[in-house]
Amino acid sequence: MADLVSHPDEVKVVSKRFGLGATEIDRYLELDGYKAVRKALGMAPESIIAEVKDSGLRGRGGAGFNTGLKWSFVPKQSPKPKYILCNGDESEPGTCKDRLIFEHDPHSVIEGVTIAGLAVGAHVGYIYIRGEYRYLSEIMQKAIRQAYARGFLGKNILGSGFDFDVYWHGGAGAYEVGEESALMESLEGKRGIPRIRPPFPAVVGLWGGPTVINNAETLASVPHILLGGAEWYAKLGTPKNGGTRLFCLSGRLNRPGVYELPMGYNLKKMIYDVGGGMAQGHTLKAVVPGGSSTPLLTREEIDVPMDFDSLMKVGSMLGSGGVVIVDDSACMVKFALRIMSFYQHESCGWCIPCREGTDWLKKTLTRFHSGGGVRKDIDDLQYLSENMLGRTFCPLGDAAAMPTISIVKKFRKEFEDHLDGKPCPLEKAEAIERSPVMA
């Protein structure tokens, strides 16, 4: 069970039931549970969509697409069944927030999925949870059973005449499966290879039917929007960036943890006030603002509001909410290498620019970090990454290229310090050599 933290600047919306025992349906009902579904049952689908659109809620999975707008793309009439798919694959390095939602407030996700179903006229929703989160999948299975037992799911929910089923689904270890089209492949029992778009999932998704895919936090926000109103939610954040979101502060901070803050909260304040500043003896070198795929910010760039548009303006992305603080003890070449090793490992291998690009970049970075680099490598790393951008089948290639480009550009000096066979200036005595099994 992950620890909970708290700070006076927090505005608790999706996290308001954390730590209150809301996994039990009785407790959830005491805490305004399933009221939003009741309300939605009395609303026209168009009004639900309008409310969510006006709230300025943008996808918490990474791309930040307006949720109501996404729902509005689902055709009204469809010969094939429509589906809602909740993305709980959470595997973008630096991100650990959906885990808390599933652990503390699983019913809010069920409620969000049901409301999405009402809005687009779907009768089935799936909640996909990554395989590593076994205990959460058990919590979710229990919550779903309770919701059925109380008539919040199944045939004729709450006597409304509306049928809605929610099922859980489990993964088995794959980052790429978090990508929406690969997620559908995985749910259909296949390798997680992305699909070409268009057609977009809203039109042709699971088993060919129109499918809404949203992140778990996005869906868990929806019931609060219906109850509090679009205007209230929108005003919590900044223009076009409604509400709050869960920020996962990690790295050498005094108070790391998952905090719910208004959109547009200043990053510097987030690090020094909310996160308690750098731990004794460490200074800040760089920040990964939204999961490992987002371009890094330097110490000089952190005075920025944390919303989708402001981060875009400074050449980065708000991404998944994973704010990783890089301190002065870290070697940026090594950091770039670790990020690239991840993407190389997780590339599904389907398209060549991603498969070969990540592999080549990893090899170059490995050689470079161990002192075998030449000056030309530095430019090559950037050139190759830039040539992956926009040329891969799904955005995993971009996710690998973007942080790499930013590290090479912003920390070039650290790359130069590795030249001429010099050992990494920040590497501690190579640990592996101490290990007898490696001898």
Binding site: E132, Y135, G170, Y175, G189, K334
Partner: protein, 163 residues
């Protein structure tokens, strides 16, 4: 090929959740692996039959997912995250300590069959780094000393049960 009662119940229940049997595949493989220890030829054949696929199709899916394995592993699979948040907080030292203490490298199993070791990607414990999962259990805020203690506890648990 027999699975446990809860496995069968879950399988039955899940079969009604999807329009195709194939959708049962990924979660079922993982639950089967948890019972048998790995995806043996027998398990693959049985699941292929149940979801109406060829064994080749099932193996094609198995090879994609990093948690699925066709090789036996230790009773306790120690999975050490060294991804960015854990890296910054000393994840590599934790991995080293595990290598040293268990006397094995990644993807190996101790001769007594108790432990295997893996270096893994982000497991959603970044704010509580460095983190390790032993089978499905999370261990967070680790130090090399704490890691030793945790491994000792599993050794004790594993050898007691055997006696």
């Amino acid at each position: 090929m027999r699975f446990s009662e809860p496995f069968e119940q879950r399988f039955q229940e899940m079969a009604s959740h999807y329009p195709t049997r194939r959708s049962l595949l990924v979660p079922t493989l993982l639950y089967a692996q948890d019972e048998v220890g790995f995806l043996s030829d027998e398990v693959v054949a049985e699941i292929a039959r149940r979801v109406e696929l060829t064994e080749l199709e099932v193996r094609n899916v198995i090879s994609y997912y990093s948690m699925l394995t066709t090789q036996p592993r230790g009773k306790y699979n120690v999975q050490v995250c060294t991804n960015i948040a854990c890296l910054l907080m000393g994840g590599e030292e934790i991995l080293d300590r595990c290598r040293l203490k268990l006397g094995i490298r990644e993807k190996e199993t101790t001769p007594d069959g108790l432990f295997s070791l893996e270096e893994v990607e982000c497991m959603g414990a970044c704010c509580w780094a460095p983190a390790v999962q032993v089978n499905y259990d999370f261990h967070e805020h680790l130090t090399p000393q704490k890691m030793d203690q945790i491994l000792d506890q599993y050794t004790k648990k594993g050898t007691e049960r055997r006696r």
